[in-house]
Amino acid sequence: MAEQFAALVIVVPLIASLFVPLIGWWKKELCYPWVVAVLVVPLISSLGVLNTVMTTGKFSYRLGGWAPPWGIEYMLDHLSAFVLVIVSFISLIVAIYAKKSVEDELPEKTVPFYTLFLLLVTGLLGIVITGDVFNLFVFLEISALSCYALIAIGEEGAPIAAFNYIIIGTIGACFYLLGVGYLYIATGSLNMADLANILPDLYHSKVILIAFAFFTVGVAVKAGLFPLHVWLPDAYCTAPSAVSALIAPLMTKVAAYVMIRVMFTVFQPHFSVDIVPVFAILGWLAVFAIFFGGIKALAQTDLKRMLVYIVVAEVGYIVIGVSVANRMGLTGAVLHIMNDAVMMACLFLVVGAIFYKTGTRDIHQLRYLNKKMPFTMAAFTITALSMVGIPPACGFFSKWYLILGSIEAGQWVWAATLLCSSLINAVLFFRVIECAYFKPMEPAYAHDGGTHEEIQRDEAPLTMLVPIVIMAAGVILLGLFSGNIISSVIQFAVPASF
């Protein structure tokens, strides 16, 4: 029975999404509790999967009962189970959060919104769980399509951003599909495990080389790696708050997961590291991504836009971790998938809450926000410190492993980039913190406490605040327990050949 958890992870949110229009037709208010209740199931199921994987090792789930490579199978190992838990957890948190934000921003569209929300989650979970390269494409498209629609209903400029995303995202998906085609023509198989068996004999074939190149480009587009990120800032920035809070942490991370999957499961590390110089290129691109994202973020005064550029930079972190291609670096990359997902989710949730309460996202208008929304700002601060890399928040630990990995690989510039990026992040976030907490006051005020105009506490509603606080606590807890997470899950998720 424990194996059936794997099926439930996808099937439950999928079937539940079908009921949302029906429920919405009957009673609109019930959509929200339905979505939240339903999203608990994938979380429990993926925890169950993770537990099974941890106790009995990796297993596969045959859909339709057909043996691979003829049928489709789920590939459940430490890596996918781990990412499954992250995705389902964050989507649950964002779903809890979405209520007020959606009522505020999209009052007439709650029903289709929640339907697509569930479908997006289904798509993301499907990408992670599947063990078939073509099936991955299908779920990539499910998530992408729902994402396009969700982005397009955002604020001014969102449709343009969504259209650009459609064009570039489709190019990415088609490149991925071309990669699948080239692999298929050379091997005749679509199953990841089967491919991994066949491919070593063909490593010097040009077809495989090109397939690999197209896989890489396609996934890099989806992940928003530096020169291919052009769609990302506008799309994430103009989307409704709840949507950006879901896609900003998850989409790029899931794409990064696919990158790890393709490069280290479908292709063996031997190929990706020794035969193709792809990691040198990717690593340098990541360096540019980090600098580009950081510098662009510095130029923004819109808080959300700043975060969006940070997302671009954070992708660079993970890619550096993948590119150094050693145990430490990959540990860092996998750890950073989790950490960054949690941190980004928290930051975007905070920005959404601020926007909901104050109607602005301008950094310079956040004055006295620490008095007005103390918990939200505290969460923001904790996460900001984590982004800067202050221990014991989780950001420090992934950075630590990434730097260790870069040093081990002898890539000094990459390590230096990671360090510089923390400094850039420090500037970015302390700018905001300064504005919110320590905005210079009139000299007369500086020395007599509490006589300024009384600022009423006006905290975000509970459905927003609770997810924010949970995520902020998560940032600290994941940092404190990162040792346990690494020793019990991540070290098995890294390919054994390292």
Binding site: K28, W70, P112, L116, F134, G188
Partner: protein, 94 residues
């Protein structure tokens, strides 16, 4: 922009052509694509699923999970259009 697009398209094309060089000849019945997984479909699909159209058998049984994904894609697109375009009229629910 047009120049960049042209260069990108040409580069992509060149890469793809480069890759075709080592592909099996067109219509080669012994190419890996035709000899690794698919023979088993042709041999046993009809027998196991009582469906002479092998494409249907593979589509809806062997790879039915894909097909479910495909249906979900259509559903997603439909709901997506509703989300983006459909407006509420006065005096009506939904």
């Amino acid at each position: 922009m047009k120049v960049i697009a042209l260069i990108a398209a040409l580069m992509t094309g060149a890469l793809l052509i480069y890759g075709t060089e080592e592909m099996p000849d067109w219509g080669d019945p012994n190419s890996p694509a035709s000899s690794h997984v698919s023979p088993k479909y042709i041999q046993e699909a009809t027998e196991k699923t009582a469906t002479p159209n092998i494409v249907t058998a593979v589509l809806a049984d062997y790879r039915s999970y894909d097909t479910m994904g495909e249906v979900v894609v259509v559903f997603t697109a439909g709901i997506g259009c509703i989300l983006m375009l459909r407006k509420k009229r006065k005096g009506e629910g939904d």
